[in-house]
């Protein structure tokens, strides 16, 4: 285990964590303010990636395509909120889980009908090569871009939530919805906006991760579960919790995958270690989540006082 390898894996963990944060931020606000489990969040991520791929192809420019896909996805998200999800806020969690599960089935098939099972989205040519960060560490420049975008969005989000009036309303809604409504906050409008913003973040994540993972039907199904793990660990409704949870999950997952087989080889027969290692690495984050729920049932940073 050399220092360079650890540094490289740290960057990978940070990159994955920041993208998870983009998904988790929208999810945790929806969950925190409206007490709504939205499984369709992963579908919005998928739609965002497909839109980005199409628009990148149409415009011939990665930047232009992504910048167009983000507002387009936000609009789709807001339409979804106004037409269907809004009527689920007052329903129990079971109904929310099922209705949004139905939305997953529907959106998977609709995407398949419109685009087919997958579309191509490749890294922009200018960023396809690696850069030498320190002597001996070559890192793909596109992944550095992802880290940059992730950090920028996280900062922007922090600024909006912590420093602006609308952010104050969002925080008020997350910590006590009834009180916020009683104080005259138009929670309906606020929520449509939050939902659209969450959808926009999904599109950013989908577009940025598209070239790394594949842009395909069902791409949101697994990452959605990771986003839920993040917000449960971080504390539902808390942006700060989502950020710390994301980075934690990103690091644990990346390091688990990279080093678990080596670690196991130290005290287990090598054949067994290489078989069990990857599985244990995949399980690690769920163990982390179960442990957090066991000892801190409200998550690490509960939003409700």
């Amino acid at each position: 285990m050399s220092g360079i390898l650890i540094l490289e894996q740290s960057l990978n963990g940070l990159q994955f964590g920041l993208m998870l944060f983009l998904l988790a931020a929208g999810l945790t606000l929806v969950f925190g303010i409206m007490d709504m489990i939205n499984l369709a969040h992963g579908s919005i991520y998928m739609v965002g990636a497909f839109l980005a791929a199409t628009l990148v192809q149409a415009t011939g420019s990665f930047t232009a395509g992504v910048l167009l896909a983000v507002p387009a996805t936000a609009v789709i998200g807001m339409l979804l909120e106004v037409s269907i999800l809004r009527s689920l806020y007052t329903r129990d969690h079971l109904s929310q889980v099922l209705a949004t599960f139905a939305l997953i089935l529907i959106s998977n098939e609709v995407v398949r009908i419109i685009w087919g099972s997958d579309v191509a989205l490749s890294t922009p040519a200018a960023l396809s090569g690696p850069v030498e960060l320190i002597p001996g560490l070559f890192y793909p420049s596109y992944r550095l871009l992802i880290i940059g975008v992730g950090l920028a969005v996280a900062l922007l989000l922090y600024f909006i939530v912590a420093k602006t009036r609308i952010g104050m309303l969002v925080r008020a809604g997350a910590s006590n919805r009834e009180m916020a409504t009683a104080m005259g906050v138009n929670i309906k409008l606020l929520f449509t906006l939050v939902f659209g913003f969450g959808a926009a973040l999904c599109a950013v994540a989908g577009a940025m991760l598209g070239p790394i993972f594949a842009v395909q039907v069902g791409m949101g199904d697994n990452i959605l579960i990771l986003a839920f793990v993040v917000i449960v660990i971080g504390g539902i409704g808390s942006i700060r919790g989502a950020l710390i949870g994301s980075v934690l999950v990103g690091f644990v997952d990346t390091f688990g995958r990279a080093f678990m087989p080596h670690l196991l080889r130290e005290f287990l027969p090598p054949q067994f270690a290489s078989a069990v290692g990857p599985a244990l690495a995949s399980i690690l984050i769920y163990v982390l989540m179960a442990a957090v729920l066991f000892w801190k049932p409200q998550g690490l940073f509960p939003a409700r006082g």
């Binding site: 079971l94 209705a99 997953i104 529907i106 066991f294």
Partner: protein
């Protein structure tokens, strides 16, 4: 009285079904009906905790999946006897449910949903890692389990075995639900604090209920492994837990035959869309049959939004006056 007559008529129809299908040369539907009954068994076991217990478990596929692996591994390892294999496929998932339930039931509401999901994911990745048993690809079984006197390789025999187990399970669980235990479980769903105050060990009751559901989920899994003669991790994917929940809510949460009605509706709907071309839709979109899940999704969404009591709820509403609601 009416209900009893209807049940007996349904049972007779189910017994006659394979004979009729053989006469019509439609043997495929015998196997299809077996699949529906197996999922009905799985959904019924989930309905016990979801409907009667009010515990929204998002990880039931773990128990069903554990059952498939226990039954499948027994067959592969040369111990195909169903009389040992199937009880074992209930015992081990039951124990798994004991362990998962003991931790999960300490949490409430949305956290319970998430922690059951997390545990199911762990089991999923465990099965993916079992390289000796096919890993991600899974296992193709050399044959079905064996029973004395009954050749399960024959689809009709297998059908009757599944039917018998389903009927037995339904009788048993119905008995359980109307017993003192079942009343306590329902009362805990309505008001846990009060039940605790009266002096019921609510955690233990809920855990017992969770374990029973896990064990019967395992039984469904054992049958499922036998049905298709294969075992693979996709049976444990979280979307399968979602599918089982869909069946329960389609059929009717907390209704005795909710699981059965739900499995019949969901699988029947998928089958119908995939195998029966409807002219006017085909005119609009020729390949629509490849997208049967779209239809399933729309039906589910409409049911959740407009008929929250499920299909059983639509028919029983007048009779029971929402007493089960």
């Amino acid at each position: 009285m009416m209900q009893r007559a209807a049940t007996i008529a349904l049972l007779l129809a189910a017994i006659a079904f394979p004979l009729a299908m053989q006469a019509l040369d439609q043997a495929y539907y015998i196997s299809f009906a077996s699949r529906i009954m197996i999922y009905a068994l799985a959904a019924t076991s989930l309905n016990l905790i979801l409907g009667y217990g009010g515990m929204i478990s998002f990880g039931h596929a773990a128990f069903v999946g554990a059952g498939t692996y226990v039954a499948g591994i027994m067959i592969v390892e040369g111990m195909p006897g169903a009389l040992i294999g199937w009880p074992l496929a209930m015992l081990l998932p039951g124990l798994l449910a004991l362990a998962i339930g003991a931790v999960s039931l300490r949490t409430r509401g949305v956290y319970f949903i998430m922690i059951t999901l997390a545990f199911a994911q762990m089991i999923y990745y465990l099965t993916v890692s079992m390289k000796a048993y096919g890993g991600e690809e899974g296992l193709t079984l050399p044959g079905r389990s064996t029973l004395p006197f009954v050749d399960l390789a024959n689809d009709s025999n297998f059908y009757y075995t599944v039917l018998a187990l389903l009927v037995l399970t339904l009788l048993l669980l119905n008995r359980l639900v109307s017993s003192r235990f079942g009343r306590v479980i329902e009362a805990i769903r309505e008001n846990e604090t009060r039940m605790e105050a009266i002096g019921f060990p609510t955690q233990r009751y809920k855990l017992a209920c969770f374990v029973i559901a896990g064990a019967f989920g395992g039984l469904a899994g054992a049958l499922l492994a036998n049905h298709g003669s294969y075992v693979n991790p996709s049976i444990l994917h979280w979307t399968q837990s979602g599918n089982l929940m869909i069946m329960v809510i389609l059929g009717g949460v907390g209704f005795r035959y909710g699981g059965l009605i739900g499995a019949l509706t969901l699988l029947g709907l998928e089958e119908f869309i995939a195998n029966h071309k409807i002219g006017w839709i085909a005119d609009l979109y020729p390949n629509y049959q490849q997208h049967s899940l779209l239809g399933v999704g729309i039906v589910l969404l409409v049911i959740v939004l407009y008929a929250p009591q499920g299909i059983a709820g639509l028919f029983l509403r007048n009779k029971q006056g929402g007493g089960h609601g």
